[in-house]
């Protein structure tokens, strides 16, 4: 008997699937994405490239919360003491949660996004945008979920972490343009997590200066995720649970 990373992943997988909230949030995500896609296909006259995946913006918030709660649920319930007693190195727990989140969300979102695209075509005709956007639409939420996990580790408190996530992800980018002098805000906005995520599944032909290309967008979002996860890891190691 000994603790190995693979075993910690297996343990986290067991814990993840055993929570009712996991299944409820995943069901909401599926219904919201596919439902919005169908509604938009029916009603939009000249749909933009991101139209089939507008639901992804919504579910990114939900999945971010899934990531947050994976960590803050441990602290809030006191379970973290049992978890860290079993895995005193602690970092493997955060790593395993990241693996579980990716392994659960990536294939799930791939199915949901493909289903959305299919529904869009059935209801509204040909799909705008390119095939890359389909990939971007299911990879972006995974990265935002990981960002949530990092925030959860960093902040440790569910309500506070969700507040920060919503403000930082959704509200702050909208304020940047107005708050900063000249066009500085406009130039920065595209590097914020939500704008970088949208760059992965939106055709930037409509807004070539306001949005990054998918490649740089992916890199920008990746940098955010790594930075927040590293900050979260430092807190996990340093602070007494």
């Amino acid at each position: 008997m000994k603790v190995t990373f693979a075993r910690v992943v297996r343990s986290e997988w067991t814990k993840f699937l055993a929570l009712r909230s996991t299944w409820i949030l995943f069901a909401l995500v599926a219904v919201a994405t596919v439902g919005l896609s169908a509604a938009i296909a029916r009603n939009a006259s000249a749909p933009s490239s991101s139209a089939p995946f507008l639901g992804v913006d919504v579910v990114s918030v939900l999945l971010g919360i899934v990531g947050i709660v994976m960590m803050t649920g441990e602290y809030g319930s006191g379970l973290v003491r049992a978890t860290f007693a079993a895995v005193p190195a602690r970092l493997p727990v955060l790593g395993a949660k990241a693996v579980v989140l990716t392994v659960a969300v990536l294939p799930f979102m791939a199915v949901v996004v493909l289903l959305s695209a299919w529904v869009f075509r059935v209801v509204g005709g040909p799909l705008p945008g390119s095939g890359d956007h389909i990939v971007g639409a299911f990879v972006a939420p995974v990265l935002l979920a990981l960002l949530g996990l990092g925030l959860g580790a960093l902040i440790r408190h569910t309500a506070a972490a969700i507040t920060v996530y919503v403000l930082a992800i959704l509200v702050a980018p909208a304020l940047l343009g107005a708050a900063l002098p000249d066009d500085l805000g406009e130039r920065l906005v595209k590097y914020t997590p939500v704008a970088a995520a949208q760059a992965l599944y939106t055709d930037r032909a409509t807004d070539p200066t306001g949005m990054l290309a998918p490649g740089p967008g992916g890199v920008a979002l990746g940098v955010w995720v790594v930075a927040v996860l590293v900050a979260g890891a430092v807190v996990v190691l340093r602070r007494d649970p």
């Binding site: 008997m1 075993r7 067991t14 006191g78 379970l79 003491r81 049992a82 007693a85 005193p88």
Partner: protein, 292 residues
Amino acid sequence: MIEVHDLVKRYGATTAVDGLSFTVKPGRVTGFLGPNGAGKSTTMRMIIGLDRPTAGLALINGKRYREHKAPLCVAGALLEARSIHRGRSARTHLLGLARTHGLPDGRVGEVLEEAGIANVARRRAGTFSLGMGQRLGIAAALLGDPAVVILDEPVNGLDPDGVLWVRTLIRELAADGRTVLVSSHLMSEMAVTADHLVIVGGGRLLADTTVDELIGRVAPASVTVRTPEAVRLRSSLLSHGATVSSSEAGELSVAGLDAPDIGALAAAAGIVLHELTPRRASLEQAYMELTR
């Protein structure tokens, strides 16, 4: 074996644990006593590596807890506050812990059975009573079949059945040769379960001793004697080196001689005794004396 060396924990300006050193040996129950806020829980969390000591060192079987490859198989702990997610069942809670170590799933069934909560194993832990939560916590502590068991206030919230179960369990664990450290603020509980006592107050060590020795040290034993010939007996006792006090006519409280000696003295002098009762201070009295 648990070795605590000069352990210190400070939170800002307050010092919770202030240079604590003691050793917990296998094969006996060591009671960890002290008033609330004495630093017991903090010390236990530092032993398990949850709290980082400001200074000092806590070793389990010669190594820091976190240096063990399979920590749950070395030491199992029940910590004071609940450590269970309300949304998971008792079974999945334990499965989650067991799988970090590759323990077989069957082991989860065994400890659930042992803790007497197998019948509620699939219920969400959020619906558990305090006592059931406590039993689940103890089940988690036993999961890895550890040689060292650390229980923080294990009888908290338990009904009389549960209290009896914990007492028996603790004694059995020690009889198996395990190292058992049990904290409590209830003296009466420790009086019946502990062989050895580590007493702390204000984060410092007050005593590291046995129950008998502590009681003897703090409050010497006395013998209550009732006799119609108190005056004659008193002078006889005094001449044999005893200390005698009296609170009412015909009743003597004797220290320095034990009951058989007093009986023999009385018989030799032909004095009739109506009562001859050895009095022992309770652990509670001794403890109050010590922590005053």
